[in-house]
Amino acid sequence: MEIDRRKFLQITGLTFLALAAKPAFDLLPRPVAANASSASQAEAKRWAMAIDIEACKEGCTDCITACHRIHNVPDIGNRKEEIKWVWKDSFANSFPEQENRLVESTFQGRSVLLLCNHCDNPPCVRVCPTQATWKRDDGIVMMDYHRCIGCRYCMAACPYGSRSFNWKDPRPYINEVDDSYPTRTRGVVEKCDFCEERLARGDIPACVEACKYGALIFGEMKPEMEVYKVISSNFTLRRKAELGTQPQIYYIL
């Protein structure tokens, strides 16, 4: 009897050891997977966006409406459980480190369009325990809503407040569900994904398309692209750039 118990413990221990070893084996590079990813990397892209703060029309929310409509972003109706992919906030709140009377007076009362910065060094990706959020080769910080366990570590890690959590089932709060895009389920984190589904079809992001004032410039970071030209020829700010996240949303002053 006593030996049985000891044996049981030993077997249990070995089982846990084996369970622990399995993921380690999974981490070993597999030739097939490696080939596939290097093939898609052949054409390295880097998406980026420039936002012209002065061109962005005060009080206009066309981009927000377009984005939230096509992505089935719910309108929860309270601050506590709010879900948003793009939104506007004051200049002072968007760039708290720019405490400078001169700049503040120039942009006094201006609101700034905010969204996921699709960082080159994204802290949310670093902390995610399941790789439910990761950075694609083209720079888009993606979300896999199938894999997210809802630990909200990414929300703690994101310096921009770009991530929203589904505290409850979002469906009853979507005015009109767009069939062509999935909704989310409760218990997962969501955010802007640069309209990756539209990019795959060759379209530009919905917010860029919706802007009547040309305030949003989107494209690849290549010298011949407009986004590259405006960023390199204007003075731009990036939100909390001092944190080393390398945000890829550039604000033109």
């Binding site: 596939a36 898609s40 990761w134 694609r136 993606m142 896999d144 809503y145 199938h146 569900v177 767009d178 069939d179 062509s180 895009y181 999935p182 909704t183 989310r184 389920t185 795959a200």
Partner: protein, 127 residues
């Protein structure tokens, strides 16, 4: 062994009870029931053979899921070299738009409740 009579009796009773669903179905011939999913397809052919889809659609869907979301692959090449857009609502449910008569028939029968529809929409044409 102490109380061997009681132990054997107990094991026998347990086995009878545990196997109840099996022999109950045999006796009442309820096990002969087969779900009959209704297929309303505009196209006659699914992306793979019916037999394959019946057995492996869940694996295929998982593959599609990872391809579309994680690997940036949007086109599926079937075994007959025809290509399809990887899209649950846009491709699968375009033909199988009758979720209740199609998907649910077998899922209910086998007692599984896949959570695909927590997020993916059923086209408004059929529910």
């Amino acid at each position: 062994m102490y109380d061997s009579g009681k132990v054997i009796l107990g094991v026998a009773v347990f086995l009878c009870l545990a196997s109840f669903p099996a022999w109950y179905n045999v006796i009442t011939s309820k096990a002969d029931y087969r779900p009959d999913p209704v297929i309303v397809v505009s196209d006659n052919q699914c992306i793979e053979s019916t037999q394959y889809m019946r057995e492996y659609h869940m694996q295929l869907l998982k593959e599609w899921r990872d391809d579309a979301v994680r690997n940036g692959k949007t086109i599926y090449t079937a075994s007959d070299n025809k290509t399809y857009e990887i899209n649950l609502t846009g491709t699968c449910l375009k033909c199988h738009s009758n979720k209740t008569e199609f998907c649910d028939t077998c899922h209910d029968f086998s007692g599984v409740s896949p959570n695909c529809w927590d997020c993916h929409n059923i086209p408004k044409s059929g529910k």
